[in-house]
């Protein structure tokens, strides 16, 4: 168990422009430490000092002004009323699962269905590596999965309703369609499949099978638009997208952004999404989480934060997606609070920490130009307005009269002159907020892309205030619900322990399954040359690939 080291008030460094004081962990020994979040040269850093291992200073947020804007939307959530870990046994980040200290209900639950993968990416920490001591194949049974999902559905006041099947590479499990059906039958509405897309590229019929089983969308790794930045699935992704297009299965592209590796291609990735706007619903950029031991110099080489990505996107889209278009995830809270006030029922709420994630919607106009919705919708004004209406209802105003009055004023937040042709944002907002009819939003999605950011933590920038508000959780066979940034940031306490407890050694798995772990490794079949093809044409027989090539 970690020990809390509390500095006295007078120990606060005087030379720093401290914005906030919080707690973090020592990247060497996991000891809980006081941490200072401070501003320097318009960037936000975190510093913490371990009595045994010294100081760690890390870039926390690459733009101080954006930090100030984002922090104003900080809004603590309702938490969960059915915790598995009692308060007296809890001391973040130890003993997660969820506990009474946790401040967000599950926004997205992850179930690892296998930790086997058909790729061996150098920066990935999610897959079983043969030959390493303590390598375990982890594949929960369908019965275990059913129990995990029932635990999710038992959360109160908001039962978990959105789930991601992840791995390893989940499509390596042949019973995946049955697993999807089982999860659906437990009452989960939204099922997302996290995959590298290679199996779907190789076997396009899988897209339809997964869709019919109940998958809502694919969450597909996509790190760049060149083979150099995206060696993982550059050649395969267009085929996987085409399979999803045919199956009417939406795709979310998920680039892991690493400074000096692929941060120059963020605009290109958005261009790729635009070229496939009928199939790609979103791009969710994930600034890299630096796992393992790294020197400060190495960390500075690779570290990138949400504002850094946002500024690069503005530059690389020639100003189409401006930095001021982005809002932190908890800025959605006024919408939730308004709907809660009207419906008098707890609602699903995205109450993560403001530094964890951000997003914006971009709409493609008739000239194929991307217009962020903030260009024709006064988002800040609308959120203020909804907060005020919720306040009025809480103060005794009749909720239906307040709702009717609000409905008449919503149009005032839309600049019709700047609204793209063919879009009726007023009707969409009216339907969603007043009638709770989301079909218009579905139509909106067909010509729009959601751009998101999610910065998972690591031991260098870990912030207990962020962890406590995490709403991306893992379901485990011991029926705990563990925040992502505990599960993966301290794997020795969570991920590795769970996989060891509920998995089996690789050798034993190979013996019982009758196959070698490496047998399912992807051998680059879609990249192999046919007679007469040149190397640069290896995948160019595909029309989709031509589109991608034109973007490069």
């Amino acid at each position: 168990m970690a020990v809390i080291e509390v500095l006295r008030q007078e120990d606060t460094p005087k030379v720093l422009n401290v914005i906030r004081k919080t707690q973090s962990i020592c990247p060497e020994c996991n000891r809980i430490l006081p941490a200072y979040v401070f501003e320097r040269e318009n960037k936000v850093f975190m510093t913490k000092t371990c009595p045994d291992h010294g100081e760690t200073e890390e870039l926390y947020f690459g733009d101080y002004n954006m930090y100030l804007k984002f922090s104003s939307y900080w809004s603590d959530g309702k938490g969960t009323h059915a915790p598995n870990v009692k308060l007296e046994n809890c001391q973040c980040p130890a003993n997660c699962g969820l506990c009474t200290n946790h401040l967000s209900h599950t926004g997205l639950a992850n179930i690892i269905v296998t930790n086997r993968c058909d790729l061996t990416c150098w920066y990935c920490f999610f897959y079983v590596k043969k030959g390493l001591e303590g390598a375990y194949v982890y594949e929960p049974t369908q019965e275990q999965i059913g129990m995990m999902v029932r635990t999710l559905r038992a959360e109160r006041p908001v039962p978990g309703n959105s789930l991601q099947i992840t791995g390893g590479e989940p499509t390596l499990r042949e019973d995946l369609p049955e697993i999807i059906r089982k999860i659906k039958s437990e009452g989960v509405d939204h099922i997302q499949l996290n995959t590298n897309g290679i199996n779907i590229a190789l076997h396009p019929e899988l897209a339809k099978i997964y869709k019919e089983a109940g998958t809502s969308n694919l969450y597909m790794s996509f790190d760049g638009v060149t083979p150099k930045t995206n060696p993982k699935n550059h050649w395969e992704a267009p085929h996987a997208i085409e399979a999803c297009r045919q199956a009417h299965l939406g795709v979310v592209l998920v680039p892991t952004v690493i400074k000096s590796i692929n941060d120059h291609e963020l605009g290109g990735i958005i261009d790729f999404a635009r070229a496939n706007i009928d199939a790609v619903r979103a791009v969710n950029f994930q600034p890299v989480s630096l796992t393992g031991r790294m020197s400060k110099k190495e960390r500075e080489k690779y570290r990138i934060t949400i504002p850094d990505c946002i500024h690069r996107i503005e530059d690389q889209t020639n100003g189409e997606v401006t930095a001021d278009s982005w809002f932190p995830v908890p800025s959605c809270s006024p919408i939730t609070h308004f709907i809660e006030a009207v419906s008098n029922r707890p609602q699903y709420e995205l109450s993560i920490h403001f530094a964890c994630g951000a997003g914006t919607y971009v709409y493609m106009d008739n000239n194929r130009k991307l217009i962020p919705i903030g260009k024709f919708l006064d988002i800040r004004g609308l959120l203020e307005f909804l907060d005020e209406k919720a306040d009025e209802i809480h103060s005794g105003s009749n909720r239906w009269i307040t709702l009717a009055k609000a409905a008449t004023k919503i149009m005032g937040f839309i600049d019709k002159e700047k609204q793209p042709e063919g879009l009726n944002m007023g009707k969409m907002l009216f339907d969603a907020l007043v009638r709770h009819d989301y079909s218009a939003i579905g139509q909106f999605h067909l010509k729009s892309v959601f751009l998101g950011m999610m910065h998972f933590q690591d031991k260098y920038n870990q912030d207990e205030e962020r962890l406590q508000r995490c709403d991306i959780h893992y379901l485990t066979p011991d029926l705990r619900i563990i925040p992502f940034c505990s599960f993966n940031v301290i794997p020795e306490w969570y991920r590795d322990r769970v996989q060891k407890k509920y998995g089996m050694p690789v050798e034993e798995w190979e013996k019982s399954s009758g196959e070698k772990l490496e047998a399912k490794l992807y051998r680059g079949d879609l990249r192999k040359l046919k007679p007469g093809q040149k190397l640069d044409m290896s995948c160019s027989t595909s029309e989709i690939f031509q589109k991608v090539s034109n973007l490069q």
Partner: protein, 192 residues
């Protein structure tokens, strides 16, 4: 739904007042081609302000009553006599928010009974975290801004002006809803 404040609520039976509205020009004389800056300062005192303390934050947070919005209005008027007083700067709305959050600052979480703190979102949209309760209240309940009058909206010579101000808030577990208003003393600005 946030429960109504009970008779035992911290602000119950305690009067909330508006302090004197203090307003005055930064420069008493100016030329017609320049703007006139008027500093306006007033604050909420008494019941609501006193109630918004650490013990109240704890109980309000437990009810998920985490957002206190204070809506300030301020406008500058030229004295003409009775109903003829004319606004030269329309009443403008400024919103400040006190937001309750569970802090991990070890200096503020001396025991498990005290872990909720409040930060303030200023009317310019920036969040400010203070480490003293009184500083939180000062930032949240004090209106202190400079309003600018376009010189063209004043006549040449001496103008007698004053400020009308108000503050409004909604119901919470610790206080009922309320609104207060007041006016500043008159002050003169000469346009040369």
């Amino acid at each position: 739904m946030i429960p109504s404040p009970s008779k035992e609520a911290p602000a119950a039976g305690r009067t909330t007042t508006l302090s004197e509205v203090v307003a005055g020009p930064v420069h008493r004389e100016t030329t017609a081609d320049q703007n006139v800056d008027v500093r306006v300062r007033f604050s909420i005192q008494g019941g609501l302000r006193d109630a918004y303390d650490r013990s109240c934050w704890q109980t309000a947070y437990a009810e998920h009553d985490t957002l206190l919005r204070i809506i300030f209005h301020a406008g500058i008027y030229r004295k003409a006599g009775g109903v003829l007083d004319r606004a030269v700067v329309k009443k403008t709305k400024f919103v400040k928010k006190g937001k309750l959050y569970w802090t991990r600052n070890p200096d503020l979480t001396d025991n498990t009974a005290n872990r909720i703190w409040s930060f303030v979102v200023d009317e310019d949209g920036a969040a400010r975290v203070h480490d003293k309760e009184e500083d939180v209240k000062d930032t949240l309940f004090t209106f202190d801004r400079t309003l600018t009058i376009p010189a063209g909206s004043l006549k040449k010579g001496t103008n007698t002006l004053f400020v009308k101000a108000s503050a409004r808030w909604f119901r919470h577990t610790y206080a009922g809803s309320g609104s207060l208003s007041g006016s500043s003393r008159q002050f003169d600005v000469a346009i040369l």
